[in-house]
């Protein structure tokens, strides 16, 4: 069972993210939860979210990167769903053994994520907090799928990345990369 946590405030205005989501939507055994659609007032139904997480063995976080991090509602979702005693801390083993795949689109070009670039840091620096969030909950970090320069790359590039995403999910769990690949992965 795959759970896609999708967080885009204006999904209709999205380009890359929309294509990514559309490419996997019809896969069997896949549940999509679009947070901005479910909770436009940030009134996250914690019990429903936790139940969905328990059903899944692969959790996908799909969203655009805003200010080097997740959109506000996904951050809020972290805050209220991944609770102490449930996701971490004493007795918090609900997510242990599950896998986590991060699928993020960014506005900056890949080259801008470098010491000499506009963002002054390699993108790996911005992966770390997300990865650690998953690991702290006992989840196995899958090699993420990152699409940089999402509003400048051509349709072809987006289609290629979307197809790769679909293939990863369609072949799950045999495509599980596990921690090892993640360490030296694409980021």
């Amino acid at each position: 069972m795959i759970l896609v946590i999708h967080a885009h405030p204006y999904p209709q205005s999205s380009r890359a993210g929309k294509a990514m989501l559309a490419s996997v939507r019809d896969l069997p055994g896949l549940e999509v939860r679009s947070l901005y659609d479910l909770y436009p007032d940030f009134d996250v139904d914690v019990a429903a979210e936790q139940a969905a997480l328990l059903r899944a063995d692969l959790v996908v976080w799909l969203h655009p990167v805003y200010w080097y991090s997740v959109p506000a509602l996904l951050k809020h979702w972290f805050d209220v769903v991944l609770l102490r005693g449930w996701a971490f801390g004493e007795g918090g083993r609900a997510l242990h053994g599950k896998h986590c795949l991060w699928v993020a689109t960014t506005g900056g070009l890949a080259a801008s994520f470098a010491e000499t670039g506009a963002h002054q840091l390699p993108f790996e620096a911005f992966v770390a907090p997300i990865r650690q969030t998953a690991r702290f909950c006992g989840m196995t970090w899958e090699p993420p799928i990152l699409l940089h320069g999402a509003h400048v790359v051509g349709e072809q590039a987006i289609a290629t990345e979307a197809a790769a995403f679909r293939q990863r999910l369609a072949a799950w769990p045999s495509t599980s990369g596990g921690e090892k690949i993640a360490e030296g992965g694409r980021c």
Partner: protein, 603 residues
């Protein structure tokens, strides 16, 4: 009749403010007024007995109101103070005074009777004084009240035993008539059972019926009828009327009509209690003071000394803080109105000579007047020693059990607020004037009181001067504005959150300085608008953005109306400007949104 009323009212209106001015307290003011117009003063009134008898009803009403403020649950909590503290005080003080009386040559049975009768304090004076000083809700005040309550109960057997002792003294036969005693006991139980049935089962449906007629004066009349009726039942079987009224009050304390009853009875209680004090002042036999000044002075001094010391001891034993023991003793130091009755009965039964009865009555009356004086002395003394010691004990914790929120109007709007608060353990006093509504809500366990929220006395009874905020959820625009004006004028510190029916009402409320106003239909309509946008295929979060922008503009436009509201023409033009601005705002918003979120721009 009218001349009498003129005399009493004039005496009270002149004397009480003067007494207050000299910080003697209202009680002493009334006593002085009575002494001035009485048979030993200007001789305006001669039939003191009748007035005294009539005005005793003030004490009955007072006990009813006190009962209203005490829920049965709290009365059960007080049982230790009532029976433990009460019997301790009566035993200690009664024994000391009985020994004193015996030492002056009274027969020992009569001495015991006189001692116990003198050990009783005046509920009227003690409670009125405690109220005046806001002392009643403190733990010490509660202990004092518990003792007064026990004295009221103890007065019954005391009064019942007089004819028996009298008969025994006259005939030398101590057996009395047991059959008669059984009969009396059965009657007493019957009367108390009747009061309980009336209080628990009959009153609420009756009051509900009366409240349904929406005639205020009929409600007031039924409140008085209730108390007088109960008092009559009790006096028929020779029980204390005050005790019956108190019991009825307690039984109605948890009913929704509590505040309405309280506010309706209050003025009668105050006037009759004042009349009672006046008649005590009139009853003072100043002739005795002139003919036997030494005897009266010695009796008074001895009485006060014994009573103060034993009360101080009792206070110490029941755990009154050391700083308040003398205050406690002084508050209860006077003789009670029951003393007059007991000595009167004892005189008729042939147990007391006329002289003794007159002397003891004089002592009680004078001791009532010394209470305010002793308190003044106590205040002066404690202020002095406080200055000298420079030390201040922590103030007593005031057990008010007051809710901090008042919800006025508990219809469709107020209910939601109330349920939200109740669900989160926040207590609120709810005021509503629809009896059917109240009955239904009470079934669901809400604490709802009946009354017209705009009335100042009801607001006061609901604790408006202590509450933090008031939710004005009244649906009628006129009533809502009346309440707003009343709160602004009388409780300027009370914050208000108000429900507005429409834009005009909103502006009216805002221009009266209400900080938070919510239109009753606005948020619901906004939400429905959002759903409409969503149904048209707009992203839900985007629909929320649109609603937020709309709301902000809409409220801004309404706020802009406030200064020009009084002028019809400028109101129209302001509304036009608002519409144009909204159009411009939407256009600007659309442009901005498209430039930021165009399909080619973002990911």
């Amino acid at each position: 009749m009218l001349t009498d009323a003129l005399i009493y009212l004039a005496a009270a209106v002149i004397c009480v403010p003067i007494a207050q001015r000299f910080r003697l307290g209202a009680v002493l003011g009334y006593l002085i007024a009575g002494a001035i117009i009485g048979p030993w003063g200007l001789k305006f009134v001669s039939d003191v007995e009748a007035i005294l008898h009539f005005s005793e009803f003030g004490v009955v009403l007072m006990l009813f109101v006190i009962g209203l403020e005490l829920e049965p649950k709290r009365l059960v909590e007080m049982r230790k103070g009532v029976f433990g503290g009460g019997s301790l005080q009566l035993g200690l003080t009664g024994m000391a005074l009985a020994l004193g009386a015996a030492a002056m040559g009274m027969d020992w049975t009569v001495a015991l009777l006189a001692g116990l009768a003198l050990a009783l304090s005046s509920t009227a004076i003690a409670v009125a004084t405690m109220n005046e000083r806001n002392f009643l809700p403190t733990p010490t005040g509660q202990s004092g009240f518990a003792i007064l309550l026990f004295q009221d109960i103890a007065a019954i057997p005391l009064l019942a035993v007089i004819p028996l002792v009298g008969a025994a003294a006259l005939t030398g036969n101590a057996t009395g008539t047991p059959g008669h005693a059984w009969m009396a006991a059965a009657k007493a139980f019957g009367a108390i059972a009747a009061v309980v049935v009336i209080g628990l089962y009959l009153t609420r449906p009756l009051l509900r019926l009366v409240a349904g007629t929406n005639l205020r004066e009929v409600f007031t009349a039924s409140a008085l009828l209730l108390v007088i009726g109960i008092a009559q039942i009790m006096s028929l079987v020779g029980l204390s009327m005050g005790l019956g009224a108190f019991l009825a009050g307690v039984l109605l304390a948890s009913s929704e009509y509590r505040h309405a009853l309280e506010t309706d009875i209050e003025p009668f209680k105050g006037l009759l209690l004042g009349l009672f004090f006046i008649s005590v002042g009139m009853a003072m036999d100043f002739g005795l003071l002139l003919s036997q000044p030494a005897a009266v002075a010695m009796l008074l001094a001895g009485f006060l000394a014994l009573k103060l010391v034993t009360l101080w001891l009792a206070a110490r034993i029941i755990g009154v803080t050391s700083r308040q023991r003398w205050l406690f003793a002084i508050l209860l130091s006077q003789g009670g109105e029951f003393g007059f009755v007991v000595f009167g009965a004892a005189h008729t039964a042939g147990l007391l000579s006329k002289e003794w009865a007159a002397l003891l009555n004089m002592t009680i009356a004078l001791s009532m007047a010394t209470t305010p004086l002793l308190l003044l002395f106590h205040d002066w003394w404690s202020a002095r020693s406080e200055c000298a010691g420079g030390k201040r004990d922590q103030a007593d914790v005031i057990d008010q059990q007051e809710a901090r929120v008042i919800i006025a109007g508990f219809g469709r709007f107020g209910q939601i607020i109330g349920r939200l608060l109740f669900a989160n353990g926040i207590n609120a006093v709810v005021l509503d004037h629809d009896p059917d509504q109240i009955e239904m809500l009470r079934k669901f366990g809400f604490k709802v009181f009946y009354g017209d929220a705009a009335r100042l006395d009801l607001l006061r009874a609901a604790g408006a001067d202590r509450a933090t905020l008031l939710v004005n959820a009244i649906d009628d625009v006129e009533d809502s504005l009346l309440l707003t004006d009343s709160v602004r004028e009388n409780f300027p510190r009370l914050k208000m959150i108000a429900r507005a029916r429409n834009v005009t009402h909103y502006v009216e409320l805002r221009s009266r300085g209400v900080e938070v106003v919510e239109r009753e239909t606005f948020e619901g309509a906004i939400k429905a608008g959002r759903h409409t946008l969503e149904a048209l295929g707009i992203d839900r979060f985007r629909a929320r953005d649109m609603a937020n922008i709309f709301r902000r503009h809409n409220i801004g436009a309404m706020e802009a109306l406030i200064p020009v509201f009084k002028d019809e023409a400028s109101r129209v033009s302001a509304a036009q400007v608002g519409r144009d601005e909204l159009a411009a705002l939407f256009a600007r918003d659309r442009d901005q949104f498209e430039s930021e979120h165009s399909s080619k721009g973002w990911h």
